[in-house]
Symmetry: C2
Subunit: 187 residues, 2 copies
DNA sequence: CGTTAGTTTGAGAGGACTCAAAGTCTGTGG
DNA sequence: CCACAGACTTTGAGTCCTCTCAAACTAACG
């Protein structure tokens, strides 16, 4: 909880009242390894802040997984399209480890945004930041080849590298696990 | 101007006062084919709404262009990271045709957001929508091969297909223009 | 100790790349 | 009205990266 408070403050401080209201309505939930946070077809009703653990957000095509993003400690994420429009999700979200998550429900956020100008600012900045990160990911995928993408990932996500298995990392990088294994072997 | 008004209203209606204030501070600018709307290293100070014409947003690596997004009539866009954080842009933006653009300055938007709760909502939704679209693009790049991506682009952007040259389209799709030429030839 | 999940290695196929050259189109000046 | 320059597109040949299918190896765990 302290972590989430810290996250909020460094991000875009809310006023006392909005903050209290936000924190009153948070829920904390635990997931076991392999548990679904969200299944394809369900509406994503929450923002997820990871207190502890690791998740993957992915879709499936031709029996292959495509990982969109890893949920990492002290980061906030959601399934954007589903959450924003409250329509069925195209993505699954699964816990890769025992995971503890702070949940912010859509209806709460919506209420909060309507009531407090500052909350609206907070979530505007959040969405902007998400868009920024996605722009970078698009650039990376386009400009870098598999080896370069792997090196970049290692550089920027060293903390979680050991916790992600080969297949999942390959899927995130957009290559097969055999290819990734060979990339690693070359070093 | 009417187009932009229409865009705003269907998107997330602003109240009368905020709307008037927004429209008072809009600027309209014309660009010739080849003109820069923004250069790498400059801070992106505007949201761009295309009244007429076409633009490309791209960066360069090893003398190759990588197109991030095309600016299309009646759509709003910006260089997100630069605009949101007011730091130097990693992207160029160029007019591909004679182009007329409605500009919303960062400082105006910021002022408006601080003053009007509704404006904040408007821009929150805008950022959310942008993030949603980018998620889709990431999925597409990962899951579809070059031919499929081309077909998808044709399907969804038929209106501008004839106006974009082969090299630019290839760059957007993340392939060489030779490859794209061969994909087209196969049909 | 056997089962299962995860990783590595091999061989061959195919897609996309590079370098190179030849067409095609379009607009301008003679 | 033709000729030529410059921009754009297509085609060819060879290479390389990544994929697929297959099999072997290596934990980790009950």
């Amino acid at each position: 909880m302290a972590d989430f408070l810290h996250f909020c403050n460094q991000f875009s401080p809310l006023n006392q009242e909005a903050m209290e209201e936000l924190f009153e309505n948070l829920k904390i939930k635990h997931f076991q390894k392999g548990d679904y946070l969200l299944k394809i077809g369900e509406v994503c009703k929450h923002l997820y802040f990871i207190n502890e653990g690791l998740t993957k957000t992915f879709f499936i095509k031709d029996d292959k997984e495509f990982i969109n993003v890893f949920g990492i400690e002290n980061r906030l994420f959601t399934v954007f399209e589903s959450y924003v429009t409250q329509t069925p999700s195209n993505f699954n979200v699964i816990a890769l480890e025992p995971t503890t998550i702070t949940l912010i429900s859509y209806s709460e956020m919506d209420k909060l945004c309507k009531k407090h100008h500052g909350a609206e600012t907070f979530f505007r900045k959040l969405a902007s930041l998400a868009a920024t990160k996605m722009t970078r990911r698009i650039s990376e995928i386009l400009e870098e080849n598999a080896t370069e993408r792997y090196n970049l990932f290692v550089k920027e996500n060293n903390q979680i590298l050991q916790r992600i298995n080969l297949g999942d990392l390959a899927s995130y990088l957009g290559i097969t696990q055999q290819s990734l294994s060979r990339i690693r072997a070359k070093k």
